[in-house]
Amino acid sequence: MTALRDRFGDEAVAFALRLLLIAAVGVALAVFTEGFLSAANILNVLRQASLIFLLASGLTLVLLAGGFDLSVASNLTLAACLAAGVMQATGSPTFGALTALGCSTVAGIANGLAVTLLRLPPFLATYGTLWILQGLAFQYMGGNEIYGFPAGFRQLGTGFLWGVPVPVYLMAMVLVLGTLLTRKLNIGYEIYAIGANPVAARLSGIPVRRRQLLVYTLSGLMAGVAALVYLARVNSADSGIGEPLLLPVIAAILIGGTSLFGGVGSLLGTVAGAIILSLVINGMNLLNVRSTWQPLVVGAVLLVAVLADLASRGRRERIG
């Protein structure tokens, strides 16, 4: 038990709850629907989850450090549009990719500087950049759409490797690297400490601002990664490409048990949250539930997850 706790920290119980939820939804869908248990469908759910996770991973780090990044989705939009434009102009996926990653990382650094140097509240700073990045995307696209990318590039979003969608490998990779960062490096420990109490962290000699800058930068970078995968999957870019992702991404993070107030949560939790969200949406599609019902169900799942966390935490503390 101690070893388990050491590996997963305080989130062990929370994660177990999520596994239970995934199992419950999975069993329910297997019983009540026809197509759920097919390999193709399950892989599709995972592919969907990995797209959400890639964008949510950076934001999860920002939340763990007690910040917020509302600009992730519009950062994705601009990166995707620019990458599409560059690929159209040069025919080179490499240039496209570099453009997306570079642009999104710069936007992330700008967020980080707004929070650390200008000392703007994170919510405000990134809400401002949300509009600015979206505005730049509007300017660049001028209402047009760019579509049709090289087949090699499209593999990133639609391809399979040994029968598993490529984005799922990316999800696994980001999860491993991110968990290494948060669990195996001093930096990760410091990110949690800052999220739990930034004043005490500073007065313990932790370089608070450098760590904050880092998480916003990573959040920008991950928006670029997600932009590429998304672009490759939908094969077309317009200035509205990212907007519908913002709320699902936040939902996945919250369902995954990461706190909006910093210091509590994990990337593993966000993976679970993304899978639960994708399962629920997939299940509703299979059950032919009208799409107008989906937000309602997602909201209910989110509240159940958060309440379950509160209940389990409360019980543990009362026992202790």
Binding site: D6, N186, A193, A196, N197, R202, L203, S204, G205, G320
Partner: protein, 516 residues
């Protein structure tokens, strides 16, 4: 014009008090804030309230204002027993309090602030009669001989002006008893003069003024009568002419609550650990010099607000230094707490829960917060090492916790404080700055904290101890600096350390303004 002359024309026992407290007590878990306090306040007198930090002055004000209700005892207003259960009751009785933190709304103008919530209205439309509101406000200010433009926003007023507006506001609510909590604490001498003239005028008009001050000169220049509190009890009330500064200090000292830890060992003093020269900050430290050597515990005493915490924060790099220098083990250190921590300085801050700990994190996480760079210089966190180190600290400090995974929030104040200390012990600190380390912890834990402090010192650490408890400074320190108004008022070697001498340095000296 000043006040002090008409003490003779002053209410005698035969006059009826405007307000009287009879045997008022107020208890909080573990603390007797007020213990059977009786006090009479007469119209047209300036009644000085004196006492050390924690003597019960604030509690008394809060009872008068209705922020606390007394557990027992009686409050009598003009011969009639009254109940003050909430601030509205106090206002109805004509009691107004001017706190050190003002309550003006920054984006409203002076007139709007004075009449906030009770603006004069036109008869028919019920709309705010702005012309009349400003005229009334001007009249109230004129009564205080102030000619402020009533359209000035509160945010554009200086501190002294805000204070005057607060007074005008109180008077516009027909206040007959004006309670002022250290009104000269943050204003200039000239502004203090103006304030004293206003106080003189109010007194002449029959307003009773309860005035808390730590400045002896003010106490004697302004006060008609003086009440001294200690440990929540009234020590004495007397006419200002019947006593002397030294007699008052004698009444204030000698607190009996809390432990008196007796220092056990005095090892040989080593090299200079901390040297502060002409230290000046934007937070109110004005040219402080001090030296702490390895193997000694140096006290930094003074009243709340004298600038002690500000010195500690500046030394630790938490606030910017605007002048002078800080040398730590001979090295000039700049660049924030991060740098200070790596040079072996640890700050045990005054507000443990806000500044010292992450309450939701585990004992282990908190214990290691300051030493990651030292335990894992490569940047790779190793859980087994972390676990071992935390265990070592828990054992060494005898932290009472079932295991290292327990959230810090679940522990007692004393154990929480040990964790903050342990954090710096794990980081290998050699200069410890303790800011009010015994606040909010029980008697046994206090002794443990001091024993720990001594153990650290014996191993060659240097300790700077900030405490408002004079007994702690006197019994624990090798020597002590006393601060007053951002400056060092004096230094006392061990053989001269006494509560009297500390208080005299903390309170005496050049006051603001001679209310001449």
């Amino acid at each position: 014009m000043p006040p002090s002359a008409n003490a003779a024309a002053h209410p005698t026992a035969s006059a009826q008090p405007l307000l009287e407290l009879r045997g008022v007590s107020k208890t909080f878990p573990g603390v007797r804030a007020l213990d059977d306090v009786s006090m009479q306040i007469f119209p047209g007198e300036v009644h000085m309230l004196l006492g050390e930090n924690g003597a019960g002055k604030s509690s008394l004000i809060k009872v008068l204002y209705g922020a606390y209700s007394a557990d027992s005892g009686e409050i009598v207003c003009e011969g009639r027993p009254v109940e003050i259960r909430e601030p509205a009751d106090a206002r109805r009785l004509g009691i107004a309090v001017i706190f050190q933190e003002f309550s003006l709304v920054p984006f409203l103008d002076i007139a709007q602030n004075i009449y906030l919530g009770r603006e004069p209205r036109r008869a028919l439309t019920r709309l705010v009669d702005r012309a009349r509101m400003h005229a009334d406000a001007r009249e109230k200010l004129a009564a205080l001989e102030l000619d402020y433009d009533t359209r000035t926003l509160a945010s554009d007023l200086g501190i002294a002006q805000q204070q005057m507006v607060e007074i005008a506001k109180a008077l516009s609510q027909d206040a007959r008893i004006l309670v002022m909590d250290e009104p000269t604490a943050s204003i200039s001498d000239r502004e203090a003069d103006a304030l004293f003239r206003v106080i003189g005028r109010l007194r002449a008009a029959g307003v009773a003024i309860v005035y808390i001050s730590h400045r002896m000169k003010e106490v004697f220049a302004l006060g008609d009568r003086i009440t001294v509190l200690r440990d929540g009890r009234r020590v004495a009330s007397m006419g200002a002419r019947e006593t002397t500064p030294d007699a008052l200090i004698g009444m204030m000292v000698g607190r009996t609550v809390g432990t008196v830890y007796e220092r056990q060992r005095f090892p040989a003093v080593g090299d200079v650990a901390l040297e502060v020269r002409r230290l000046t900050t934007g937070t109110g430290v004005k040219g402080v010099d001090l030296v702490v050597r390895s193997g000694e515990i140096v006290g930094l005493s003074g009243l709340v607000g004298a600038g002690r915490t500000e010195v500690a924060r500046a030394v630790f790099g938490a606030d910017p230094v605007t002048g002078g220098e800080v040398r730590i083990f001979g090295e000039h250190v700049r660049g924030g707490p991060e740098r200070a921590a790596r040079h072996g300085v640890g700050l045990i801050p005054e507000n443990r829960k806000q500044e010292g700990l992450a309450l939701l994190r585990s004992v282990r996480d908190n214990l290691l917060a300051a030493s990651l760079w030292r335990l894992f210089p490569s940047g790779w966190f190793r859980a087994p090492v972390a676990r071992r180190k935390a265990k070592e600290m828990i054992d060494a400090l005898r932290i009472a916790t079932p295991d290292a995974d327990r959230r810090v929030r679940m522990l007692s104040g004393g154990n929480q404080q040990k964790i903050v200390i342990g954090k710096w012990l794990a980081a290998g600190c050699r200069l410890f700055i303790f800011d009010e380390p015994t606040r909010g912890i029980d008697v046994g834990a206090k002794s443990e904290v001091f024993a720990l402090m001594e153990a650290l010192m014996e191993k060659g650490a240097a300790v700077l101890l900030i405490s408002s408890e004079l007994t702690e400074i006197v019994h624990v320190c090798d020597r002590a600096y006393v601060m007053r108004e951002g400056r060092i008022a004096g230094e006392l070697p061990r053989d001269e350390l006494s509560e009297q001498k500390i208080l005299r340095l903390a309170m005496h000296g050049e006051s603001k303004a001679e209310p001449a």
